[in-house]
């Protein structure tokens, strides 16, 4: 009996094993397939209806420009990357330090939180020209805009994270007669990390938006400048290629933050 049963269970298990791999293939295959199908529809549609290239270039046109203009794209990629990353660090560092000050002193929070909210209510598109006027056409204005756009979500999340310690954990700290700085370094800061990382993931994509918006307003290099230039010159394939590079930059930063999160937060 047992001997005849063994192959039966084996047979029952192997389809289940392949079912799991099958499922993974479906998980990856379906979105990729859908994206590919949309590109095909786009390509065929554009050719079939004879849409002019300056209105909607075909995917193959965009790919062609991406290859032929690759040096140009890269020349404009680096400044935007530097601005976005600098803005990311400056904006988030400022937000973290201010959050720490808020959590340590209620009066600092009462004095400055309304100002932070007010700054956040000004649309970034409205404040960007002012910043370009103040800081000139160089990189500084773009870094400031990128920093500004990162600032508020991180501030709010970090304050919440630092306050997310349970009352019981604080009682434990009191029973151990922990000092304020020990509570901060050993309890509050680690507790805030999951909150911080969800803010950093938001910031990793918005800082690119900030840098590009800054470049729209006044710059001769950067992906934002290239977008404006190719639009005005009706170089649509180049415009589309630039847009893809921009979103590639966001994906790159988002993925970096996600990987850092996976490595740091293991609980």
């Amino acid at each position: 009996m047992a001997v005849t049963e063994t192959p039966v269970t084996d047979a029952a298990q192997s389809p289940r094993m392949s079912k799991a791999t099958h499922q993974r293939l479906i998980d990856i295959g379906v979105p990729v397939g859908t994206a590919f199908a949309l590109l095909v529809i786009w390509q065929v549609g554009v050719r079939l209806f004879g849409v002019p290239q300056y209105i909607a270039p075909a995917p193959t046109d965009i790919l062609g420009v991406f290859v032929s203009e690759f040096p140009l794209l890269m020349r404009n990629f680096w400044p935007t990357l530097i601005e976005a990353i600098s803005g990311f660090f400056i904006g988030n560092m400022t937000a973290i330090l201010i959050a720490v000050a808020f959590v340590h002193s209620r009066s600092v929070e009462r004095a400055f939180f309304p100002i932070a909210v007010f700054i956040n209510t000004i649309p970034i598109l409205a404040i960007a020209p002012i910043l370009v006027l103040i800081f000139g056409p160089g990189m500084t204005a773009k870094v400031v805009i990128a920093a500004l756009i990162c600032f508020f979500p991180t501030l709010v999340n970090m304050v919440r994270g630092l306050q997310s310690v349970s009352p019981q954990t604080l009682e434990l700290a009191r029973i151990l007669s922990a000092s304020k700085s020990e509570v901060f370094w050993k309890i509050r800061l680690p507790s805030s990390l999951p909150f911080l990382f969800s803010a950093l993931k938001i910031a990793s994509t918005t800082c690119v938006i900030g840098a590009i918006v800054g470049e729209w307003i006044g710059a001769n290099v950067g992906l934002g400048a290239l977008i404006i230039e190719s639009t005005f010159n009706f170089r649509s394939p180049l415009l589309y290629a630039t847009v893809f590079v921009s979103s590639g930059l966001s994906v790159l930063l988002f993925a970096s933050v996600s990987i850092a999160e996976k490595l740091i937060i293991r609980w």
């Binding site: 019981q168 954990t169 009682e171 434990l172 700290a173 029973i175 000092s179 020990e182 990390l193 937060i265």
Partner: protein
Amino acid sequence: MKFGDFTALRDISLDIEAGEFWTILGPSGCGKSTMLRLVSDLVPPASGSVEILGKTTEAARLAREFAFVFQDATLLPWRSALKNVELPLEIGRKRGITIPTGDRTPHELLELVGLKGRENALPHELSGGMRQRVAIARALVCQPKLLLMDEPFGALDEMTRDHLNLQLLDIWKETGTTILFVTHSIPEAIFLGQKVLMLKANPGRIKEVVEIGLPFPREIALREAPDFNAYCGRLRKLLEDC
């Protein structure tokens, strides 16, 4: 003991001898937790005083003479079991405070509570009972003379609870520490305690102190004994009168 105008505890006068195991019973909201919080210097008394081995509660806290085990383990989720047990040794070290350390290392304490081999597990990788055992090991790391426990096994299933009750009695016997143990369970109070303190509510006062004359060491089978059931009946009656 007052919270604003509300009197949570009144006229509590007790002498607990070093090395005794007291369990505390009483209806919900009668002030059992508040009593432990008074002893552990988390809240100040409105009048009167609490002394631990001749010291004020603050002095005893600074000298780490007592430790507290909460209803949930209150582990730091980013620290491994071992690192959680070591936490009390880290707090104050940089400030040059002399931290009393027991005869047992954190490793040995984890072994004592039956967690050998799980030193590097994070709290979320442990079961509720295991987490509570880590919390007990952490409480023991400074070799406290007094162990305060507020429903430490309240959230655990019957089997795990029995097992940890036996372990706690072993630890008590080995370390000779004084234990104040709050519980909702009458059998648990009788099984563990040498004395059961019964509180009544509104405001919290001492209803009665019942000496449990059952011999140690105690085994789970004791719960079937007629003496044990007699205590159960008596305490249940007292609790209903509260």
